[in-house]
Amino acid sequence: MKEVIFEILENRRITPGGIFRTELAGDTSDIARPGQFVGLKLDGLYLRRPVSVCDAAPGRLTLIWRVVGAGTRQMSEMRPGERLSALSGLGNGFDAEVSGDRPLLVGGGVGVPPLYYLAKKLREAGKDTAVVLGFATASEAILAREFAGLGCDVTVTTVDGTAGTRGFVTDALPAGRTYFYSCGPEAMMKALNGALGIPGEFSLEERMGCGFGACMGCSRMTVSGSKRVCRDGPVFRKEELIW
């Protein structure tokens, strides 16, 4: 973990519902694994806001996030050239090493972005990667083309049927997969936990004070006792979680 002052290169709304994509320039050397996150310090707000790494390269960071409250509303007004303080390299991240040959990635809404960087790593390692993405409606569907561009086998579901399969991610799960990775609304992940017989891991969300393990604000009870979502997580193996 370190504090990095990023420069905003681009900040753009990508859906009518208020999902934004932010391109940043700065030191990303502390981002070691997909599924890690950054803690953003915003003017006039006291606590940092956690946002997952959607994509990272040396000197470059991509975040994709939805406007939900004061902090993200302020982020929607960030302009190219402005600076942004981030605690970089927070959390444990996904374990891409254990995927087997045919991993499955399942994301919902703004839980999809961290899976992109993971898919990139899995494709680099030559894995046959299937991706199932769930959204409310076609206009809020994000990143499907980008996953396809990595060579993933992509299935989209929408609740209203305006794109892909009508329904939920659990209505479109492919068979024959070796391991799964998931991030999305808790209800989706809970349903997935019941629906998938293969081993895997989930990325959780909890309201955070510090994001690096100091305040005990983000605790969650697991089969091996209380864990901090920010530091022991946000990614937990399926068998560790109690739903």
């Binding site: 707000l45 006291y46 605690l87 909890e206 309201r207 955070m208 100091a214 305040c215 605790s219």
Partner: protein
């Protein structure tokens, strides 16, 4: 010119501190997460997470809320319990921090407090016992004792009876007359007072129309509470003869100096560590130049000058 190291030195209950900066309980874990970021031996001391006799998960989440210039927490004293603190956390802390540590203790009865203080007091690593009678986030304990002079005195006596280590009573600002509580602790034998713990508060989510915290209420800390803390430290330090550890909203070297001008012999830094994990390091590094700006030769003279 006095050396920088001597300019910052202070003393707390007979133990020398290289500088007055102590991370506050609950915002610094057991130190070792921060030791990965910088050499924490630069700190004056550190106060570790509130420890209770039994392990505690604490309150349901969400238990953190953002506030104007501060935060609410309703963590509720999550800790692994005294036995694991002694067997697991203290050895890990010892590996990264070689100075005397402040043991923050909480409980639900005088017997609980005595039990934990006796055990922790026997650990050579522990310099002071900071007895938290001010946690707003637990029922039937914590703050219940700190809101009356009688309750505060009862816990002070129970703890003083079982340990020879300096006992610092940590007070809540959520009272009508904090001076009477501080005086009761002093009379009951306390060696020092620390204050303030968090201010009782809440926030409501406009979308859900429900309290943000699962526990409804929580404790406010951060820069928002600095003026309240200064007032409480001023009042208490002018009323008691024992040393006072001041905290509440400290985020900079000038805040430290202001708190010492209010009468504190040392200070604790809480919420600031959560927003900037390097906060204490930066404060310590900034102290000499801020002292120069205000013509302060040594921090120690500052406290004495105010108490005269």
């Amino acid at each position: 010119m006095v050396k920088d190291t001597d300019r910052l030195a202070t003393e707390l209950c007979g133990i020398r501190l290289d500088n007055p900066v102590i991370p506050a309980s609950g915002t610094f874990g057991y130190g070792y997460e921060f030791a990965e970021l910088y050499d924490i031996n630069i700190l004056g001391s550190l106060s570790f997470k509130g420890t209770t006799k039994e392990p505690r998960f604490g309150n349901p989440t969400p238990r953190i809320a953002d506030c104007p210039s501060g935060m609410l927490n309703s963590v509720g004293l999550q800790n692994p319990g005294i036995d694991r603190v002694i067997s697991e956390e203290l050895p890990k802390l010892r590996a990264v921090f070689r100075k005397p540590v402040m043991a923050n203790v909480s409980g639900f009865s005088p017997e609980d407090y005595a039990y934990s203080c006796e055990k922790l007091g026997r650990e050579t690593q522990i310099g002071w016992l900071e007895v938290n009678i001010s946690c707003p986030n637990v029922h039937g304990g914590g703050m219940a004792f700190g809101t009356t002079p009688e309750g505060a005195a009862e816990i002070t006596r129970a703890v003083k009876a079982v340990t020879g280590k300096p006992v610092i009573m940590k007070l809540t600002p959520n009272v009508t007359d904090i001076v009477s509580v501080a005086l009761a602790c002093e009379e009951a034998g306390a060696d020092g007072i620390s204050l303030i713990n968090t201010l009782f508060g809440m926030r409501i989510d406009l979308r859900t129309r429900r309290p943000v915290l699962a526990n409804t209420f929580g404790g406010l800390s951060g820069p928002a509470v600095l003026p309240v803390a200064l007032r409480a430290v001023w009042q208490v330090s002018h009323a008691v003869k024992i040393p006072v550890v001041g905290m509440g909203g400290i985020s900079s070297a000038s805040d430290v100096i202001e708190m010492m001008m209010a009468g504190a012999s040392a200070v604790e830094v809480g919420a600031a560590n959560l927003v900037d994990p390097f906060a204490c390091k930066k404060i310590i590094e900034d102290l000499p130049s801020v002292m120069d700006r205000y013509g302060i030769n040594t921090l120690e003279e500052l406290g004495k000058w105010e108490k005269m």
